[in-house]
């Protein structure tokens, strides 16, 4: 069914405490006026893979989007989409990020909570010179005294081989998988898959130590 995402999102945000009025302008576009905050133009999609090509039609609209929300739960966003969003100055994310965005003045820098925590931890690490976000969950970490490493941070509760292999399919090359869920576990199958692919897997704490080693 074409264009269901606009109505779907509308039903879920119209009662938000920050929303004064929310209307469907187009099947995939909402206009939101907020209490004491700037109005928003929200474009809605439901795709597994978000890249620049997916976002381009919305960027061409007038007015430009304030935020593009992808309602697909099992989705990922690649670097070209993040770059386009940064260049055209709009926010991008899932429903969780949209709900948070409704309460802030500048929605362009909204990122998911777990990425926020990860970036803060990485940027504060004494062995890290810089962190470059390549895709939504893939980062290039340049270190002070050792070669750079590319890591993928996955929030799985039970990390399985499929999570590792899916990450490889989605993001291409990386060196390390970080299991970032504080309750998470790594199944033996995930360890084996990673080893077969020449990858390392760490939980967050041990990964902080790994950053200190060549």
């Amino acid at each position: 069914m074409v264009g269901w995402t606009g109505r779907w999102v509308l039903e879920r945000i119209r009662a938000d405490k920050h929303v004064e009025q929310a209307d469907l302008l187009l099947p995939q576009r909402l206009h939101v006026t907020r209490r004491d905050l700037p109005e928003l133009f929200i474009d809605t999609i439901s795709v597994e893979r978000v890249d620049a090509a997916v976002l381009q039609p919305f960027v061409a609209q007038t007015p430009a989007p304030s935020f593009v929300v992808n309602v697909s739960r099992e989705s990922y966003t690649v670097g070209s989409a993040l770059s386009l969003a940064a260049q055209c100055r709009f926010g991008i994310g899932g429903m969780g990020e949209l709900i948070r965005a409704l309460g802030v003045a500048d929605v362009r820098d909204i990122i998911s909570k777990d990425i926020e925590f990860l970036l803060r931890g990485l940027n504060q690490h004494s062995a890290v010179r810089s962190v470059e976000r390549l895709d939504d969950r893939r980062f290039r970490i340049r270190r002070c005294a050792h070669p750079e490493m590319v890591v993928v941070c996955l929030p799985a509760y039970e990390m399985l081989a499929d999570h590792v292999r899916t990450a490889r399919d989605r993001y291409g090359n990386f060196d390390v998988v970080v299991a970032s869920n504080p309750n998470g576990s790594v199944a033996a199958s995930a360890d084996q898959a990673a080893e077969s692919m020449g990858l390392e897997i760490y939980k967050w704490g041990p990964f902080l130590g790994r950053l200190n080693r060549a």
Binding site: S112, K113, D114, E116, F117, L118, G121, P155, Y157, E158, L160, S180, N181, P182, N183, S185, V186, A187, A188, D191, K203, W204, G205
Partner: protein, 232 residues
């Protein structure tokens, strides 16, 4: 009582708790010898509190990084008959700490199950018994369970709180629920019996994940309707 090692010796409360957990029997599942002996003249006890990880840095299954208080704490002690105590300390490679911890846990589970197995006359009575257990588990899940927002923070201390409450309350409650349900199967309806078996698998999975020796296992989620057992 053996294994007094100064600060690594258990205090009075710990001794009582160990004896209570043993129910008066050696906690080696291959032994189960009574620890209180009545003969014609007097009643004696032969139970010995054995250290799981040694009381000293040189003892069997020693952990040099462990402080004296931890060595003498309840979690590091098990009640055995004199023979089993000697055997596990003379052959620490054959009796590693994980095995002894499993003995203790399984012995307690056996007793818990025994005392949980009460037959009720009616569904409301059975429901009255299981409802508080489900309620407590639900409250723990909702407040500190892994679906909460702290899951986004890889350094969240709530993960430790969840694990502590899971081990101390949720898992024992699950076992009590199973014991009550099994003792009162005749009061369950056919759909509930199917849900009960799903719940049993869920309990097994969650215990394997959090108590198992091997790599953390994948498991089934809490089955829908399980918390409505015996509910009319």
């Amino acid at each position: 009582m053996a294994c007094s090692r100064g600060k690594a010796a258990p205090d009075g409360n710990t001794k009582l708790r160990l004896f209570a957990d043993s129910a008066g029997y050696c906690q080696n599942p291959s032994c189960l010898r009574p620890l209180f002996i009545d003969n014609t003249d007097e009643n004696i006890h032969v139970g010995e509190m054995a250290h799981i990880l040694a009381a000293s840095d040189e003892g069997p299954r020693a952990d040099p990084g462990m402080d004296a208080a931890a060595r003498g704490a309840y979690d590091n002690l098990i009640l055995l008959c004199p023979t089993c105590h000697v055997v596990i300390d003379k052959q620490p490679e054959q009796y590693p700490d994980r095995m002894i911890i499993d003995w203790k846990r399984e012995h307690k589970a056996r007793i818990d199950k025994l005392f949980g197995a009460v037959e009720f006359r009616s569904r409301p009575e059975a429901r009255h018994a299981v409802e508080p257990l489900f309620s407590e588990n639900r409250a723990i899940w909702e407040s500190v369970g892994p679906d909460n927002d702290y899951r986004h923070d890889p350094e969240s201390e709530f993960a430790h709180v969840w694990r502590r409450k899971l081990l101390a309350h949720v898992l024992p409650n699950n076992r009590k629920i199973l014991a009550i349900a099994d003792a009162n199967r005749r009061l369950l309806r056919d759909p509930e019996l199917r849900i009960l078996e799903l719940f049993r698998q869920h309990v097994d999975d969650i215990e394997a994940r959090h108590l198992g020796d091997g790599p953390r296992a994948v498991g089934s989620r809490f089955p829908e309707g399980a918390d409505a057992l015996f509910l009319d």
